[in-house]
């Protein structure tokens, strides 16, 4: 027990007391009456035609934040890929994962793609959206790699998809800039509530950002799996 550990424990006790003080000041039966939250709750559906208010905050009201968040994710994943390095051609790859897993992976792949796209597309009128659907798409692309390690993810293709997707996103934003007068403003019509093609360009943005997140996660998973035996 040296000085560092003792001071750390004192710090932890202090932090616990500090956070525990929240329990004394929290109001248990309050209803939201003012502020941005109330404004968005009452205005999101008439303004946007989107039923899922969280998604409309994410992509319409705070769309610029999401753009910055995508940049952070892209930089983090790219840096991780750079640190891990390229696949060595002489590295011994894993042996085959067996007949059952391969067949099941082939069967599962289209189902997972459909599920991911469905969750992406219906994000503006029910729970779901870019991050959930992107994660499922990444899992869909990772399952075949697990099943047969000899056929790796084509990084060139995934990078191409990522670039195309980001370019589409920027084109949508810039079209808004030229047609309307604001960057990232929403295009197309409002449509009727709880239809697939409604809520301006939210479904389009869902597909675009979802595929970007999916390719990013699939890329880092494949990089970790591929460069395995190279040390």
């Amino acid at each position: 027990m040296n000085l560092r550990e003792i001071s750390s424990l004192v710090f932890i006790v202090w932090l616990g007391l500090l956070l525990g003080a929240v329990l004394k000041i929290v109001a248990y039966d309050n209803i939201l009456t003012g502020g941005v939250g109330t404004y968005i709750l009452t205005h999101a559906a008439p303004e946007l035609g989107a039923e899922n208010i969280v998604t409309s905050v994410l992509l319409a009201y705070r769309g610029l934040d999401t753009l910055g968040e995508l940049t952070v994710l892209f930089v983090a994943i790219t840096a991780a890929g750079l640190v891990l390095g390229q696949r060595r051609t002489d590295a011994p790859s894993d042996s085959d994962a067996g007949f059952i897993l391969r067949t099941a992976a082939n069967l599962l792949f289209p189902f997972l793609i459909i599920l991911g796209t469905y969750i992406l597309l219906q994000g503006h009128f029910s729970p779901g959206g870019v991050f959930q659907g992107g994660a499922i798409l990444a899992a869909a692309f990772f399952v075949p790699i697990l099943a047969s390690p000899a056929s790796p993810l084509h990084h060139r293709v995934s990078r191409l998809v990522e670039g195309l997707v980001v370019a589409t996103f920027m084109i949508i934003c810039l079209l808004a800039l030229f047609s309307d007068d604001a960057f990232l403003a929403l295009l197309l019509g409002k449509g009727s509530v709880s239809q697939l093609f409604s809520a301006y360009s939210l479904p389009l943005l869902h597909i675009v950002i979802g595929f970007q997140i999916g390719t990013a996660f699939a890329g880092i998973l494949a990089r970790l799996q591929e460069t395995e035996a190279s040390d």
Partner: protein, 152 residues
Amino acid sequence: MTESAGIIILSYCGAIGLILLGVFAMVMYRHLIRIIFGLMLLEAGVNLFLITIGYRANAVAPILVDGQIPAAAMVDPIPQAMVLTAIVIGVGVQALALALVVKTYQAYRTLDTQELAQKLAKETGVDIIEGTPVYLPSPLAAHKQILEEKST
């Protein structure tokens, strides 16, 4: 005490417990993977804390039913959107940290921070003793030192 108040107290306690366990793991363990476990726990606790701040008593989820605003109050949607991005950013940061861990293991063959400090001290000639303030050598001086060692 109503049911909502009980839920709020429980989730605050869970969030505080997760944050404290995460900080404990980050400061008390010496193994890098354990430190990353602590980071993940801390992140989960902070997310739960934010969501609990947005929760309102007897409220429903911020999703309309059939295009109608429901009669009951809805919870605050803004912390939920922020946490949604925070979870994904957290996994990106974790992937970067784990990639650095892999590279550290490839370079030094150990993940224990004390052994790492000893190996670094042997390499750069500067002692990093646990429990005292760490004076990292400036990169230029360390580089010069390594060059001198190589030349001699």
